[in-house]
Symmetry: C2
Subunit: 286 residues, 2 copies
């Protein structure tokens, strides 16, 4: 496995692999890899001949008061995990390589980026779509793998790819959780031991929602009341949003039907975490 920092060098390698008929799999990450990332890399390795993992803490997707500076970084550890997953290349560019002086171009998806995380993090998705468009042009992958913990991100990127006629398949992959249910996230390492325990309330409250829906509840308001009640058992949690939306449009729904996303964002200590569940093929009543 090679670590490449230069865009041109990576492009040359990819061009050669493609000339040899190789299919390229791509896992874009901000590093500090965990088992969630590992599952993406493994899937990419199974489905493609050649796998690129990018590790780039992308400044344009962080707001000015967000955690860019304290976002965890550990390239050496990442190397080992990427290698175990079967990656062929780690692409680890500098900020200057990605955004040289005078950089001025942005890709923006409207509407679904204005909801959920887009509403609480203005400009966040513009940073995401811009860097991913760049990475797609650099890596030119056949398939790109994204975790569904960032469900809205997946939907935004699928929209970008479709609207801009990009030739890449965006492949959403299930959330990987710790044994106790906490959704894996690079940010978890910044939780204090106490906050780490508190954070469990996110997955617990989503499990509660799932349970209520399984029992037949379809009224979003009723479900939200129960979720909020569960979250309230941890009074130090500062809720950013709890939303029940259609997974296609990200519009709030009153009655659950079809493919539904229940998503939570909350601050626990200094760390903002997100979690969600996707409920598929919901009949309007059971």
């Amino acid at each position: 496995m090679k670590i490449i920092t230069s865009i041109d060098e990576l492009k040359t390698i990819i061009r050669k692999e493609k000339q040899n008929g190789k299919q390229i799999g791509f896992v874009p990450t901000m590093g500090y890899l965990h088992d969630g990332h590992l599952s993406l890399i493994e899937k990419a390795s199974i489905e493609n001949h050649f796998v690129v993992v990018s590790i780039f803490v992308n400044p344009t997707q962080f707001g000015i008061n967000e955690d860019f500076d304290v976002y965890p970084r550990d390239l050496e550890r990442d190397q080992k995990i990427a290698e175990i997953g079967g990656a062929n290349i780690i692409f680890h560019p500098t900020i200057k390589e990605m955004y040289p002086n005078g950089y001025r171009t942005y890709v923006e998806v409207e509407e679904i980026t204005e909801k959920l995380c887009g509403a609480s993090r203005p400009g966040h998705f513009r940073g995401v779509t811009t860097v991913v468009a760049k990475l797609f042009h650099i890596v030119t992958p056949h398939r790109a793998y994204f975790g569904l913990k960032d469900a809205q991100q997946v939907a935004v990127l699928q929209k970008m790819v479709k609207d801009l006629n990009m030739d890449v398949q965006v492949i959403p992959c299930p959330i990987v959780r710790e044994a106790d249910g906490l959704a894996m996230s690079s940010r978890n390492v910044n939780l204090s031991p106490q906050d780490r325990k508190t954070a469990l309330i996110l997955s617990k409250s989503l499990a509660k929602a799932k349970e209520i829906v399984a029992a037949g509840e379809r009224n979003a308001e009723m479900i939200l009341i129960q979720v909020k009640k569960t979250l309230a058992t941890e009074p130090t949690v500062i809720i950013d949003y709890i939303e029940i939306v259609d997974f296609e449009t990200f519009e709030r729904i009153d009655i659950l039907k079809g493919r539904v996303l229940i998503a939570i964002a909350a601050k626990i200590g200094k760390v903002r975490l997100i979690d969600n569940i996707i409920l598929e093929d919901l009949p309007s009543c059971i």
Copy 2:
């Protein structure tokens, strides 16, 4: 030569050509082809194995009070010209094929798009970069050819390609003029016979500027005074802008040096025309 209206069909054709090692040349146009376009198609045919000409009057680059509805269209005539130039494919999608219901993604280059035509046509370049990004993803050309009559457009697209790491060479081509000096434009057909004569003042005033610079003048203000004086000899011309800018940054300059663009936009009757000259390698004095 084939006319293709479906994005998927074109992608399939291009994929096959590329698998056979063919280099793809691309000439994006809004149709109503003239000798300027022909020169681009001919150059593309010389430099590539396979040439795609797109004909698409792109609604997103027209403002609400602009001439989208009266922009001239004549596919039959365009076919003949493209064929003479050596094109292999005309790509002629519908608006719905390019912007299906729910379309929401835009590519935007900041800063240089806020000047000249960007200042007088808000949103224009956002429409241009968006449609060209889409077309580049659909056609995946090795080389794309653009006329320098739209000098700012060329600069904006070069910036987009560089910033987004796109793998295409944007090739600027010289303005083609009528025998009397009028820069070729599809919009010229909308000029009345009287306005057609009046329109000559644009190229004449630029020729005047060139003459003054050749005589040693380097002060932008002095040159602008002379250009305006020449333009004023046709009092029906409504000037949108006359600018002397650095060709790299599109910033106004006081003293001409290096690579300089002198650009004019003006309304003649109901038709907005643009013209420019690029002065290369100007020493600061002669």
